[in-house]
């Protein structure tokens, strides 16, 4: 039975002023600390008593973490405490990474997005996180800082399972880097929930198509599936079909079917595995048709 708790359990609030301080604290208090920025995921875990950290580390006082930087050479860098609403207001995001901009808007309601952070959404590693697919197709790189130094990790390698990432106990993500998207790319984020909007995704597809001279059809594709596997997955075979044949009626159908085949959804109270699988195919098709539209391709 879900035990209903009012309010939060006791913990000690710690507010490091630098990354070094944060990382040092985590190292000195292993297994007892939880770093957070927005708190929207973390506090719910606390309220449900699913986590019992002795210390809560608020990263928001660390300078520089609330910055979004865009450069025409290096692309976009999003600090760990950048909120989703900040991202919604970011011109560079809307202009260069429209799929992520669209996905960000689908998270919860406005109030939630005032606090929730992109990095937090990713570190929460929910199988159905709205922003995960878009970050993945744009080739996101996680900049991680730990007591033993810094490392960069492609987002592809970041997730281990529901709620689990590769982060070590003394590591935090300081920023997320998105390289400049491939020239001429077009993408879409298609999700389905139980209401029209505001629900978490019970199945979602993020797709990006871009001109690629190295590819047989002249185009390459990245198709990420969320909410239908323990972690986000690429629909690899679907991507291959499209790279080979390009966007035709037949290849879109085949790709959609392949995406449906590759996912590993579960039955839960939100949806059945069979429905999720069926929706992945539908959403893949719709995402690809949207790409056709944007690239002025008649399949």
């Amino acid at each position: 039975m879900l035990q209903p708790y009012p309010g939060y359990p006791e913990f000690e609030y710690v507010k490091p002023l630098s990354i070094e301080e944060a990382v040092g604290f985590l190292k000195d208090h292993p297994g007892q600390s939880r770093p957070y920025a927005g708190g929207t995921d973390c506090f719910m875990l606390l309220r449900d008593r699913r986590i019992h950290p002795k210390y809560l580390l608020d990263l928001k006082a660390i300078s520089g973490l609330d910055q979004i930087n865009f450069g025409n050479e290096n692309g976009l860098s999003v600090g760990a405490s950048v909120t989703l609403n900040q991202l919604c207001r970011c011109q560079a995001l809307a202009e260069h990474y429209p799929v992520l901009a669209a996905a960000v808007r689908e998270v919860g309601g406005y109030q939630l997005r005032s606090r929730a952070t992109l990095i937090g959404n990713l570190c929460n590693a929910s199988p159905c996180g709205d922003t995960i697919g878009a970050c993945l197709v744009y080739g996101a790189l996680m900049q991680i800082v730990g007591s033993s130094g810094k490392r960069s990790l492609a987002l592809d390698c970041f997730f281990l399972g529901p709620g689990k990432t590769v982060l070590r106990e003394d590591e935090i993500v300081s920023s997320l880097d998105l390289p400049l998207p491939p020239a001429g790319c077009a993408g879409a984020y298609k999700s389905i929930g139980r209401n029209k909007l505001g629900d978490l995704a019970i199945a979602a597809v993020t797709a990006l198509g871009y001109p690629d001279a190295a590819s047989p059809s002249g185009f390459s594709f990245r198709i990420a599936l969320t909410a239908v596997a323990p972690t986000v997955i690429f629909a690899g075979h679907a991507q291959e079909i499209l790279a080979e044949k390009g966007l035709t009626v037949e290849s879109i159908e085949n790709a959609a079917a392949e995406a449906g085949r590759v996912c590993q959804p579960i039955d839960d109270i939100r949806a059945s595995a069979a429905y999720r699988r069926a929706m992945v195919a539908v959403l893949t098709r719709r995402a690809l048709l949207s790409i056709c539209d944007q690239l002025h391709i008649s399949p």
Partner: protein
């Protein structure tokens, strides 16, 4: 009890609500806002993790020792039973637990957190018993008895439990002879539908604060639809006089039925009895609100309906298995209401209804907007649609042919009063353009239209009373005393309107006394059943007339005129004979001096009135027949146009239209607001809502997984219509409508889905997934 013959200006006027200024500013006081100072203690409740188990032992010693704990209570503290129509519930569980979440022990401490910690120190030993989760399981002869002592429970004389079974009520209707009639039917439809549990989801969860003073007098602050019923039920359970309990109820942040009767309010009272005068507050978390308190009963409805070749309904067989849950002290009456209204608003000569209230180990079923009508009509209105199809008749025409009219003898033998149901049907079919075919859409989109009609009577015991008081202030302004609770429907506003209109004073001069306080406010049975405008309204009319009589007696004596020649208009007493005038403020409290101050006439003016229906009769136990089953019926119709995405199963509601015969709309805009809110709650229950249970444990007790309609789920166009076929004993003909707007929604949407796709699901919610698989079978 009719009002003044000429319709006063205020009646039919959409005046501004009297409570909204403070609500807009955030200064409106709800129960959790009341300040109690540093002495306030906080309660938390230890709850059963088992759906059915014997309690072997409870050890509270460690909890009692915890610093900050001031009181611990269990079922051992109190053995009284409590219940509105059937006393089957203990305040804290005794001997056994019957549903997951049942209150087993309680702690009052200086902080909520300490109380929570203390709960963990309470050791409870359980012996699990086999549990029943489905009403059709509960009714089997070999089913485990959930209430073996059913025969000992106090019960209202119109409820018929069967001791030795899990049937806590069996209501029957036997009219004509259905068995003999099937062969005469040109078409017969047989269907079984399953309507799952849903919860009311008031934005404000339940909250109650109890304080017991040195003399043993109890004061209870509660977010309640029923301050007087709470006082009464708790007094009976505790063996006290109701005069020793005072219930104070502020604004209610949504009730929808879940704040009627007594649920969690008794828990802090038991704790407060041990805290030597310190008040104890219990607030339910949202999760607790979902599954520990009241929910809407689930229903299995088994229907057989037949008509002749001309489309006249001939026979209905209706068997309803209501999943009453662990305690059915309130739910038994839902069964009864479902029973006597089991035909829906139709004239059917042969009726056989068996309405069973079953105990199960699911969450406790209680009153929910509609009181069984939404669940009932979900079955009936789909069968009516199917039957119309079966004989090739238009569904609207079929309904127009068969709906009840004034003078018809209903299934219980009661004669129907005049009703505007046909006009309701006409209005909504026009609005939805019923005849007009829908344009073709994209290949993956299908369109459909559906309609459903409904009726509901206030479901009450035969003798539910209302009363009202009118107190004049020194300056002629008025304090109107009523106990019809303001739960959002606008009861305070309508009360002021009725009082001002009948008295003859400006609306602004009336203030409605609040919070409702059983020590000072006049008696009102409960704020349920869509009964206030009618019943409380009649009491206010009586009080207004009483006040006018007192006023005119005083002035008549002072002027040496006949009181019959006097009138009160706009706060001024006028003689139609002499044309003399005197404003109320000149004598409302201090009276009128005689000539030359040779004495005084009059004094403080305090009017009172009451209303209680006197004509409701009992119904025969075997046949459900009786002269007058209910006070009246409000009827209505609702229609939807919707679009289905066949690739995903998602439904989008395009248009909605609804109409209700309210007799007289005293405040038309408030009536429309009820209709609009009801449609959205209705479509929410049709498309999204269900309590998902596994072995008696609710799997989705939060907004994350119990979805309700948001701003994005609304129809593009909603039209509401007021029909007025006056009720003979309502204020200027008024009848209630608070519950009705959400009643036909599920059926109307189901019918529209069928129109679009040719499919029917076995019950709501009509989720995208269910629609998808119904379309893509195999």
């Amino acid at each position: 009890m009719t009002a003044s013959a000429k319709l006063p200006d205020l009646v039919g006027e959409s005046v501004s609500r009297v409570d909204v200024r403070e609500k807009a500013r955030g200064s409106a006081v709800f129960t959790d806002d009341v300040q109690f100072g540093p002495n306030l203690l906080h309660a938390r409740i230890k709850r059963s993790p088992y759906p059915h188990a014997l309690i072997k032992s409870i050890d509270t010693t460690e909890a009692e020792k915890l610093y900050g704990v001031k009181a611990v209570a269990t079922g051992a503290d109190f053995d009284g039973r409590i219940g509105l129509y059937l006393q089957d519930k203990h305040i804290f569980a005794r001997g056994r637990v019957r549903f997951v979440g049942e209150a087993v022990a309680g702690v009052a401490a200086i902080t909520e957190q300490i109380a929570e910690q203390a709960l963990e120190l309470i050791e409870v030993e359980y012996e699990p018993l086999p549990a029943i989760f489905h009403p059709e399981q509960a009714i089997k002869p070999d089913a485990i008895l959930i209430h073996p002592d059913l025969g000992e429970y106090g019960v209202a004389n119109f409820i018929f439990p069967k001791p030795g079974t899990n049937i806590s009520n069996h209501f029957k209707v036997r009219k004509g002879d259905v068995e003999k009639t099937w062969k005469d039917c040109a078409a017969v439809v047989e269907r079984k539908y399953y309507i799952p549990h849903i919860q009311h989801v008031p934005l404000e969860t339940h909250v109650a604060v109890a304080q017991v003073d040195q003399s043993g007098k109890i004061t209870l602050w509660s977010s309640s639809q029923s301050p007087f019923a709470q006082r009464d039920l708790i007094a009976k359970a505790l063996g006290m006089s109701p005069g020793n309990i005072r219930v104070i109820s502020n604004y209610v942040g949504g009730g929808f039925g879940c704040k009627a009767g007594v649920t969690m309010e008794a828990l802090p009272i038991i704790l407060a009895m041990k805290t030597r005068g310190r008040p104890v507050k219990l607030c339910l978390t949202r999760e607790e609100e979902f599954f520990t308190n009241f929910v809407r009963q689930a229903l299995v409805i088994d229907l057989k309906l037949g008509c002749d070749h001309a489309g006249n309904l001939l026979a209905m067989q209706n068997t309803m298995y209501w999943d009453g849950g662990a305690y059915t002290e309130y739910g038994v009456n839902i069964t009864r209401a479902g029973g006597y209204s089991s035909t829906g608003p139709y004239d059917i000569p042969n009726v056989k209804t068996d309405s069973y209230c079953l105990y199960t180990n699911n969450t406790v079923g209680g009153p929910y907007r509609g009181f069984g009508m939404s669940e009932l009509h979900t079955g009936v209105e789909q069968c009516v649609d199917e039957l119309a199809d079966a004989i090739g008749m238009d569904k609207v025409e079929f309904r127009l042919r068969n709906v009840v009219q004034g003078g018809d003898i209903l299934a219980t033998g009661m004669q129907m009063h005049p009703t505007g149901i046909k006009e309701c049907i006409q209005k909504v079919t026009e609005a939805i353009e019923w005849e007009k075919p829908l344009p073709a859409l994209a290949p993956n989109k299908k369109h459909g239209k559906g309609i459903a009609v409904m009726w509901k009577a206030p479901a009450m015991p035969p003798n539910p009373g209302s009363s009202a008081t009118i107190k004049l202030n020194e300056d002629g302004t008025i304090l109107l005393g009523v106990s019809g609770q303001e739960i959002g429907q606008g009861s305070f506003t309508v009360a002021a309107q009725i009082a001002a209109a009948e008295l003859g004073v400006p609306l602004e001069s009336i203030r409605v006394g609040g919070p409702v306080d059983t020590d000072y406010s006049p008696y009102e049975w409960q704020t349920v059943a869509s009964r206030l405008t009618w019943s409380m309204g009649n009491a206010i009319l009586a009080a207004a007339r009483d006040t006018r009589r007192q006023i005119f007696e005083i002035v008549a004596e002072a002027w040496k005129e006949n009181p019959d020649d006097l009138d009160l208009i706009n706060g001024v007493v006028i003689s139609q004979k002499s044309e003399r005038e005197i404003p109320l403020k000149d004598f409302a409290v201090y009276g009128i001096p005689k000539a030359n101050f040779a004495g005084w006439i009059g004094g403080p003016i305090y009017g009172r009135g009451r209303f209680m229906p006197t004509y409701v009769t009992g119904l025969d136990k075997e046949t459900g027949q009786g002269e007058r089953a209910v006070v009246h019926y409000t009827t209505g119709a609702q229609a939807f146009e919707l679009e289905v995405d066949t690739e995903t199963g998602q439904i989008e509601i395009i248009k909605a239209a609804t109409a209700f015969d309210v007799g007289r709309a005293i405040n038309p805009d408030l009536v429309k607001a009820q209709m609009e809110g009801g449609i959205v709650q209705g479509l929410s229950s049709a498309l999204f809502e269900q309590m998902i249970f596994k072995d008696g444990v609710m799997q989705n007790p939060s907004f994350v997984d119990y979805r309700i309609a948001t701003t994005m789920d609304l129809p593009t166009k909603v039209e509401t219509f007021i029909v007025e076929e006056p009720q003979d004993d309502g204020p200027w003909g008024a009848r209630g409508v608070g519950e009705h707007p959400m009643v036909p929604s599920v059926a109307a949407i189901a019918n529209a889905i069928h129109d679009a796709l040719g499919i029917r699901l076995d019950g709501p919610p009509f989720t995208a997934e269910k629609i998808y698989f119904a379309l893509h079978k195999g």
